[in-house]
Amino acid sequence: MRRSTLCAMALAALCLFLWPQEARAQYAYGISAIEYDSNTKEVFGYSATEVDYSAGFYYDPYVEGFMYGPFGLIDYGSSRGYESYFPAQVFTYTFNALPNSEYDVISDHYVIRWFSVDIIIYDDDCYYYFMGCYGYNWYDPYGFSFLPGGNFGPYNYFWGWNYYGYVPEWTTYVGTTAVGIFTPPDDPCSSSTADKTDYMDMSAEGGDFCEPMPSVTIGAINAVSKHSVTNETFTVPVEVSPSNNSVPITLSLRTTSGSGSAVFAANNSTSLTITQTTNVEIKGQNESSTVDNIRLEAKARNRTRDTEDFTVVLVTFQFRTSGTLSSDNAARAYIAQQIGTDSLGLFQSTGLARRIWRHNVEIVGVVRPSNYRDPIVLQRNVLQARRYVNNDPNPQFARDNFPDTTDDPNLVDTDPQSGGSNGRVFDYDAPGIGFGSPPANGTILRARTNFRQWATAGGVRVSDYLYWYQRLSIRQTSNGVVIDNSQNGDNAVGEGTTDIGLGTPRTRFGLFIAQNVPDTMEAGQAYNVSVTMMNGSDHTWTPGEYYRLGSQNPHDNTYWGLGRVDVPGPVAPGQEVTFNFTVVAPSSPGYYNFQWRMLREWVEWFGDWTPNVVVNVTSPYTYCDWYQEQSCYNNGGSWDYSTCTCYGGCGYYGGYCY
């Protein structure tokens, strides 16, 4: 049955039985009724008076009906019936009834004496005045107005000339009936429990058409990252109870003040419907202009079940290599104590830390929104580090992709508001090199290091990557350790990456970031692999200029079914690009090298070689006939899975024993 039908207001009626004081089975009846149609939002009122057969001999019914709404009288009317044959009826009405409002019908019931008897004129002067003669002018046989019945009515004017006139009818009030309703809310099931119960009590059939309202709990959201910058989503658990809930729950994302926006990753929309407990992924679209101005709201039947406010955070970087440490960097004094200066740039440190040549750099994270208060941690790792002694091109020290040990909390300032920062956080480093004990004069030590920096809020990356590098060379002299400037492009620190080779840095440079390739493959099978490189050059790589990934080891091989993979789109300097492609394992089992390098076709190969992965290519698995295999064993044979052949045992032929 449709809810609208169920929710339609049925009828609340009150009948008032009115009877004369001396019971002679003469009755007048009064009725008030009211009905609400939830579909049309109309209220119908009904007022009626009627008299029974006996009373009908002397009386007509009469009724006045009034409908009142929340703002007063809406509609009214009056009606006279005829004896017992036709009741007096008034229909009152209103449309566009308001939800959650009281509507009443009040009916005043009367009977009208319709004949007169025994007119006695006491005053003869009325002849001269032609008016105002009065006397007992009507008879109340059943006592609707008197005690007891059978008496005459009170004085009344007699109108006429020479006693030929008429006695006006006398209307007797016999009682009032009234009935009222509360209109239900628009959606009765979205109301409070009390309202719902009230409503159900008034419904025609009652019952459990209102399913229980689910409760929803949205997990905490620390910070959401701007997705177009970081490709990060935030996963928030949304718990729904009861577990078998089927009421649709609408999750919505909206900006409560200022600017900033987020969408659900599942549909790139600000609205998502769920019914069960689930994890919801949120993508920041635009950074917030103020904290906690994006609201995730869960509603069931248009009623809020839970909300969670959060911020879309974006951090950009300033890389500082000159001047002094920022005055709002809370770590400033500590750093100065450690290295003996608060200046940035190339120095031989003199403080508590080891006294070696260092590049002092300050990384400033500019936080948006600027009034963000939770900690923002600037994290770092070392992408590549190489150390060369003298002119030996083989590095004496080489290490890739390891976390920078920034576990001295005194070196960083993670509070965006400390020192009046108004949205700035800081990291500091001073990578350096030196000699343990003085080597022979003229000994040169060169350092080439690439770093990668990023910001996190509540464990979520909220910045793009900042790449920075250091090239530093020192030389032992009789006067101590000095900077060696014998090589172009040396002793520099800056944004971007550097060629980690010994010599003058190459300008067209591709930095290996990561790769994903299985180390075991089945011969002839296809596998999805990926290689991520970073454009460390000052030139954008485009497919149109034939920037590609090319196979190596051996050079230009096609072991994997292809020897080139185009860049998928323009890759600006400093950007990473992931080559996702499908390789087909060689058809012959064995060990094969999987190694690649960037090239510009017909111009040059450049940048890092990807780390070589020796892939074990195995024989394809063959599905043999189980019956043949069992027969082979049963007859004492030896089964070869690779060829599905039985050897030995009783007379074999094609694997079958006879």
């Binding site: 770092r380 040990t405 576990d407 909390p409 343990g436």
Partner: protein
């Protein structure tokens, strides 16, 4: 019922109800505190084990750092004792064909080198009395003495002049002439390093 009468009644009702109200939700906090105490006990066992300090210094160093992160006041005496416990990183010293290379890929601060320094600085003000005592008891030039000073200045990293002032006050009220001398000496060194940094 007047407003005052109503308020009085409400207060009375609350006063009567208070003793029978359920206790504050302390269960979770107690469990957390118990877990914290257990963890600190476990970490203290690591840093008190001489064999671990010698054979597995990285594990001991991690335990020290963790005690600092947890602001474990109970660990202050042990951490002061470990002020000269030194940590080395596998990448910082390289022997390159007979050349000893110092390779600080990132700055190794006193707190990184001597994890107890960072841990005591992280514990903050509760560690100050123990650190002042350590400065007064140890030779100023000794590693432990220098590190006690570094930890103390780490506590006051955002306002180092306060640290210097405190050292001078402690010197004035020194337990012995020697302690007062050391404290004053430390104050002077700290002041000098601040001045040097300012001059650079």
């Amino acid at each position: 019922m007047g407003k005052k009468t109503f308020a009085r009644t409400l207060l009375l009702a609350l006063a009567v109800a208070a003793p029978v109200l359920p206790p504050a939700p302390a269960g979770a906090a107690q469990t957390k505190e118990r877990a914290r105490v257990e963890k600190i006990t476990e970490l203290l066992a690591v840093v008190r084990d001489e064999e671990t300090l010698r054979a597995d210094p990285n594990r001991a160093a991690e335990a020290v750092v963790r005690l600092g992160e947890m602001k474990a006041v109970e660990a202050i005496p042990d951490l002061v004792r470990l002020l000269d416990f030194r940590r080395t990183f596998d990448w910082e010293e390289v022997n390159a064909g007979g050349v000893e290379v110092v390779n600080e890929i990132t700055l190794i601060t006193t707190a990184k080198r001597y994890p107890a320094v960072g841990a005591l600085a992280a514990i903050g003000r509760p560690a100050v009395p123990a650190l002042l005592k350590a400065v007064g008891e140890r030779e100023t030039d000794s590693t432990a003495g220098e590190n006690a000073l570094a930890a103390l200045m780490g506590v006051f990293r955002e306002s180092p002049s306060k640290g210097v002032k405190l050292l001078k006050k402690a010197a004035a009220a020194g337990a012995s002439p020697l302690a007062a001398h050391r404290l004053l000496n430390a104050a002077q060194r700290a002041e000098n390093s601040l001045d040097e940094a300012r001059k650079q």
